[in-house]
């Protein structure tokens, strides 16, 4: 059977992708951020997961506002990356795991989480950047990926509780897959940031640290947050934190916190990286 070996939270901001490509690991601005990923890279070398189920949001590469699925999942052999409008370097296609994707789809829909199914899906920085920062030296991606895209662009966005509950079902689906695979779940995005309006540049360090503290074993206080709470406290783009809660739901009640690092600012955001393993 498949084993859900861990969960990782990671920022997915484009500036991180650029800094990784430029290998700014020891640059004074970036070092406190990149150092936070060293234990993650070491854990990957030790655990060698086969598949990443990555919870992320699309920012206008695969989806436009003409059709906005609240939750969608990839079921493709490969996911292409492409130009998002800034002329950034396009990264190699990400390999998928079609059978695992369909196993997850069947189980989630049986549990009444009705996702949009995508046999062709481009993946943007939301999915690519966490892979890039964790495997900066890879010529090709060392894992297969199942992308789970959450709408955090067009309001109303799904609630924190709904994302957590879907995550619980996602975790059950992964653990019931009849194949000896090691699967890790990523919750990407966040933390506090606001890109728009007169409040652009808003970062809430106090909120972020409190969120990371509660994330381990007081997550009910986080799933109780409304979208408006998140916009107010974490900034308009900070609603991405609902994707962390989907990952947290997948891990089950008891977890061990292996690593945690917060650094702000990175570009316009507070950045939190955490590594958790399910505990018995």
């Amino acid at each position: 059977m498949a084993t859900l070996v861990g969960g990782i939270t990671s920022s997915h901001i484009p500036a991180v992708g650029i800094a990784t490509s430029k290998r700014l690991f020891d640059d004074p601005y970036w070092k406190p951020f990149f150092d936070g990923y060293i234990p993650i890279r070491e854990w990957m070398v030790k655990v060698k997961p086969d598949v990443v189920v990555s919870v992320y949001n699309d920012h206008g590469l695969n989806f436009f506002l003409d059709q906005v699925p609240t939750f969608s999942i990839g079921a493709a052999q490969y996911y292409d990356n492409a130009d998002e409008g800034w002329g950034l370097k396009t990264m190699p296609p990400v390999p998928g795991d079609v059978e695992l994707s369909w196993h997850i789809i069947e189980n989630l829909i049986k549990d009444e989480f009705d996702l949009t199914m995508c046999q062709e899906m481009k993946v943007d920085h939301g999915l690519i950047v966490p892979l890039q920062v964790i495997w900066p030296d890879a010529d090709e991606w060392p894992v297969k990926v199942v992308p789970v895209a959450v709408n955090t662009v067009q309001h109303p966005t799904p609630s924190a509780k709904r994302c957590f509950d879907l995550g619980t079902s996602l975790g059950n689906a992964i653990r019931s897959y009849d194949e000896d695979l090691k699967v890790v779940v990523f919750g990407t995005g966040g933390m506090s940031h606001q890109l728009q309006g007169e409040r652009a540049g808003f970062i809430n360090k106090r909120f972020d640290l409190d969120f990371m503290d509660k994330f381990v074993d007081r997550y009910e206080e986080l799933t109780a947050l409304t979208t408006t709470d998140l916009v107010r406290e974490a900034g308009s783009e900070g609603v991405e934190l609902i994707m962390w809660l989907m990952m947290r739901g997948a891990l089950g009640d008891n977890v061990d916190l292996l690593h945690s690092n917060y650094h702000a600012p990175i570009s316009n955001t507070g950045s939190g990286v955490m590594l958790l393993e399910p505990a018995d």
């Binding site: 309006g197 409040r199 408006t228 316009n268």
Partner: protein, 121 residues
């Protein structure tokens, strides 16, 4: 036809991209989405007005794009992720645009970000 009041309306300096804004900003955001292609970015830069007209944008929206006025675009239904593609066409970063919306210099904006990171909590 009317739009209901929202509990996020009172959050200062924040334009939550809901149905009302999406409806208002549709042609503007559609134009921005087209800028994922370099050829289209070049076409925009060559003739801003002509390019925008192809998307049935309003005169105010076109003026906001010509002025690269981010707050005006937000007020006319622009979505920041799509506006970022327009910024990209002119090699502007999220910090350039953020500073413009705050009405401060980019240096002041970056300094403000650093100070928030250094806060004792």
């Amino acid at each position: 036809m009317s739009w209901s009041k929202k509990d996020y309306d009172d959050i200062p300096g924040t334009y939550v991209f809901d149905g009302r804004r999406a409806a208002m900003g549709w042609p503007l955001n559609k134009m921005c989405m087209s800028l994922n292609e370099e050829a289209q970015r070049e076409e925009l830069r060559q003739d801003v007005e002509g390019y925008c007209r192809k998307f049935d944008m309003s005169d105010e929206q076109i003026q906001a794009v010509k002025d690269l006025d981010a707050l005006a675009m937000l007020r006319l239904g622009g979505n920041i992720y799509y506006m970022a593609k327009l910024a990209g066409a002119y090699k502007l970063s999220v910090q350039d645009v953020g500073a413009q919306m705050r009405g401060i210099t980019v240096e002041e904006f970056k300094d403000m970000l650093l100070k928030q990171g250094q806060e004792e909590v």
